[in-house]
Amino acid sequence: MIETENISKTYRLGDTKVRALRKVNLRVEDGEMLAIVGPSGSGKSTLLAILGCLDVPTKGVYRIDGQEVMRMNERQLAAIRRKKIGFVFQQFNLLPRTSALENVMLPLYYSGVSHRARQAKAMEALERVGLAERAKSHPNQLSGGEQQRVAIARALVNEPAILLADEPTGNLDTHKGAEIVAIFQKLNREEGQTVIYVTHDPFIARHTRRIVSIQDGRIVRDEPVEHPLAAGTPRSDDILGESLSTTVEEDEEAGS
């Protein structure tokens, strides 16, 4: 279970102060699957980075399974990232010139797992994302969708409590994006994996069971999804609810 209390994040951009997050309160139970949506610059990625302990809030309290992250030193933070969190990036962030298997093994190097066990666990994680046969391939030999699946396997290999993904489908076409969403749904349904992903795409967000909307650093809406879409559902305007179509317009404004 993770919980934030009045989290704020302010950083300087030249002379101006940017208030990326303002008093955000969020609570996610184990086994949930939710999407954080919002226009560009709304603070959704900043929130996810803080949830993944990749960044620290300026103010507020953040607890993972009851432990206060703000009070931890560098070493304890590294342990939290290693044991509790699996993070998937929009840019995949795989090590170049390194095989898929070794990329997946990377987090295990820091967990004191023996070489043999590392290989076995990494293979297992690759099987879970359906890429066991590409284990020896290097990132430049894989498609974008395959690279993202390797990245998901890497996030899963330490059996984290929470799987976080920042725009996981942002660099992929619709078809590949659907594959990634299908993997998240399967992990959540079949293994009870907690999944939180950030997206600007309301259609992708509708595949979860809860949608948290952020605007100007504040949570403006937090509501359950009555009927989550199944992966592979064709995209059409009809299935997007009224409330979400407003987000799309705002997104277009931000992009123009």
């Binding site: 980075a49 993944g52 990749l54 960044d55 620290v56 560098e74 070493r75 590294a78 342990a79 939290i80 990232r81 290693r82 044991k83 969190i85 993070f87 990036f89 962030n93 090590l95 170049p96 010139r97 390194t98 070794e102 990377l106 987090p107 190097y109 820091y110 967990s111 004191g112 890497r154 330490n158």
Partner: protein, 409 residues
């Protein structure tokens, strides 16, 4: 974290990026090889010169005609060093030093159609001892030979080889200016020195040289002259005192006041050694400076490669932190990587530098010597340069929050 595991991560990173690793190593290799090779040449030259001067005999003082070189070049008026000067010096410092005069001149030295390239030297019996030669076979020139003006000759090792090509010269005859001389002894080789050909020697009795070979050529106003007088001090501490006495005696013999220039040079081996060592020391310093610049350029090479790859590596560090690597482990990985690369490059550099030095030696240019100090120094510098340029960017990257390192452009 176990250190072996860390080492493994570092080796994996090195082998996954062969081009980057190779370029980093290249800079160090060039720098270290340059230092080792240049210093080997410099030190080889220095020790060659030192050895040749030391080989001339310990505590050696030489007196030779012609003081200031410009006087000698002006010619004519130069005062000759006389055999009587030797007798006066012997009377003054004979108790503190062995004194021996010699007369050296050009003569044709032949055995049939074989010729020796040495100058002919007329000597007294103690010449070989003062100049630190020892006998290989036969006997030395004796007082008896001098009294009887015997036509006997003692050969240096190289001269014996030139004239007899491996045959035993003892008892055989050679021709000096067409006159037959009998070979009575051969000297032990002193070895090559690079400065003088110490084994090119043809020694005959001094009186034979005056009376039989050189005649009027060796006389000045009816008196026998000598080319030089060599003294070997019994005690090294006495060298300066003996030199002063020798100069005083020469002034008295030639009626010179203290303010007049002495037309002879009186020099000690240690003076010569000091000035020659000084020259070659300067040379070595110069070579060392050039080598140091090479090492610096090598270091800049390492820095360039590190800076070029810093963007990719910063993101790599961000990623490693994001998947849970503690900062200390990341720094240890980079430390291991950099140390492995610098030491590998350093060893390769030493081997290549050694190879160049060996090549110079076997090409017969200069006998080089690779000293362990230079090897250790250049390895140490390469490692330090590698560490500074390799670790500092890594330290900066590892101090960032993971999200900053991942976004680094």
């Amino acid at each position: 974290m176990n250190p072996f595991e860390n080492f493994r991560i570092a080796l994996r990173a090195i082998s996954a990026n062969k081009l980057r690793s190779g370029l980093t190593i290249l800079g160090i290799v060039i720098g270290v090889a340059a230092v080792v090779a240049l210093m080997a040449v410099g030190q080889g030259a220095t020790s060659g010169i030192t050895a040749s001067v030391e080989g001339m005999g310990t505590n050696l003082i030489t007196v030779s005609s012609g003081g200031r070189s410009f006087q000698r070049m002006a010619g004519g008026s130069a005062t000759s060093l006389l055999y009587s000067d030797y007798e006066a010096i012997l009377a003054t410092v004979g108790n503190e030093a062995a004194v021996t005069p010699y007369y050296a001149g050009m003569a044709s030295v032949k055995n049939g159609d074989r010729t020796a390239s040495a100058t002919l030297t007329g000597v007294l019996p103690n010449y070989t001892r003062v100049n630190a030669y020892s006998l290989a076979s036969g006997r030395l020139i004796t007082d008896q030979d001098n009294l009887q003006k015997s036509r006997v000759v003692v050969l240096g090792a190289t001269s014996a080889e030139d004239l007899f090509a491996g045959l035993n010269p003892l008892g055989r005859e050679i021709q000096i200016n067409g006159k037959n001389f009998s070979v009575v002894g051969v000297l032990e080789a002193k070895g090559s020195s690079g400065l003088t050909y110490q084994d090119d020697m043809v020694l005959i009795p001094l009186q034979t040289a005056y009376e039989v070979v050189f005649g009027a050529q060796a006389k000045s106003r009816g008196k026998n002259t000598v080319s030089g007088i060599a003294l070997s001090a019994a005690d090294a501490d006495q060298v300066d005192l003996i030199m002063a006495n020798v100069e005083f005696t020469l002034r008295r013999e030639h009626s010179l006041t203290l303010t007049e220039d002495l037309p002879f040079s009186v020099s000690s081996q240690s003076q010569m050694l000091a000035s020659l060592t000084n020259i070659s020391g300067t040379l070595t310093t110069l070579l060392g400076a050039i080598a140091g610049i090479s090492l610096l350029v090598g270091g800049i090479g390492i820095m360039n490669i590190t800076l070029v790859s810093v963007r990719e590596r910063t993101r790599e560090i961000g990623l490693r932190k994001a998947v849970g690597a503690p900062k200390g482990v990341i720094l240890f990985q980079f430390l291991t990587e950099t140390l492995t690369l610098s030491i590998l490059g350093g060893i390769l550099g030493v081997l290549i530098g050694w190879g160049i030095a060996w090549g110079v030696s076997s090409a017969g240019l200069i006998t080089t010597s690779v000293s362990s100090e230079v090897v250790i120094l250049s390895l140490g510098m390469a490692t330090v340069v590698g560490l500074i340029f390799g670790i500092y960017p890594a330290y900066q990257a590892a101090s960032l929050r993971p999200i900053e390192a991942l976004k680094y452009e």
